[in-house]
Homo-oligomer: 186 residues x 2
């Protein structure tokens, strides 16, 4: 199960509470890599602790418990990270939508693809803004993902936008000019 590895990885980067880990799964990590709700995280932390892969290192205010990986956990994580690239779990609802867009009428496909372009560009400027802000106030807490993740996201959305633009051309070409909009705005 990848949730356990995600937890081991996050805790290896920095010890954290279940609450903090859950937040991380809603931010960058959840957006690009792996989602998990707090109702999965807490029981899983308990299981990992039972297996000796993590341990509680600190109990703080509001009953909070800070976990850290043990040596055994770090070894397990290392093996997983260095294991050869197999097929792994892939599940992405938005990419699924992209792939099925062809089931629509061609002009609706193009409309949807234009939506993709806009969405991607919106996310790109968000990420750029975030990166600039990061240069001013350096990261804190469980934000170690920030630099690699935001760069990855930026390039990801760039590729998505370019692909969508290409796909619009492709669909139009295949179709003659059944297109609803104006062809190429200079």
């Amino acid at each position: 199960m990848s949730l356990s590895h995600a937890l081991l990885g996050l805790l290896a980067i920095e010890p954290a509470s279940g609450y903090e880990l859950s937040k991380e799964f809603e931010r960058d990590l959840g957006r690009y890599a792996w989602q998990a709700g707090h109702t999965s995280v807490y029981p899983e932390l308990i299981r990992l602790a039972e297996q000796g892969l993590v341990e509680v290192t600190h109990e703080g205010a509001r009953r909070s418990r800070t976990y850290a990986v043990t040596d055994k956990g770090r070894e397990e994580l290392r093996e997983w990270l260095l294991s050869p690239w197999g097929q792994g779990v892939v599940r992405n609802e938005q990419v699924l939508r992209l792939f099925l867009l062809e089931a629509l009428e061609p002009n609706e496909t193009v409309t949807a693809l234009r939506g993709v372009v806009e969405h991607a560009e919106g996310r790109m400027s968000e990420l750029r803004a975030l990166r600039e802000k990061r240069d001013v106030e350096p990261p804190e807490g469980l934000d170690v993902l920030g630099q690699l993740a935001s760069e990855y996201g930026l390039r990801q959305y760039q590729a998505l936008r370019d692909w969508a633009l290409w796909a619009i051309e492709h669909v139009n070409k295949r179709q003659g000019s059944t297109d609803s909009g104006s062809p190429r705005q200079p």
Copy 2:
């Protein structure tokens, strides 16, 4: 649930049997967008048929049943495809690994990133070869995904490769030269 939409979408592109649909979930679709085993597909087709979203249009050899979307199913699909871009399910084991690479020692991180570059380049040439082959013998069967998907995949892997190269530089820079390999091979 996205599995139902995936099935509606595939069947809207072209009627198919559960077997053919399952194969598609193991190819392009499973690699980039959504995985599903045949043990999920068959029961789901039955549920969709009960709801009147798909129907059996043909029974062929070896007890095979060809399904097609109904008008109701097509409408359901259309609504889903044209609905606004929300957060959707995201789960990608390999991307998760990328994000957690920092938990390794810096030189191991770089080693792993070099593996990513190689993997991405390998997949890219596979996809290019496939695309050239496609130009000779045109697609057949449930391969309508082929053109958009292979282009998407290509750009995806290109972005991944470029990101990994950038990340190697980034990690090295942050680290001084604790790197194990030779820096920049011309």
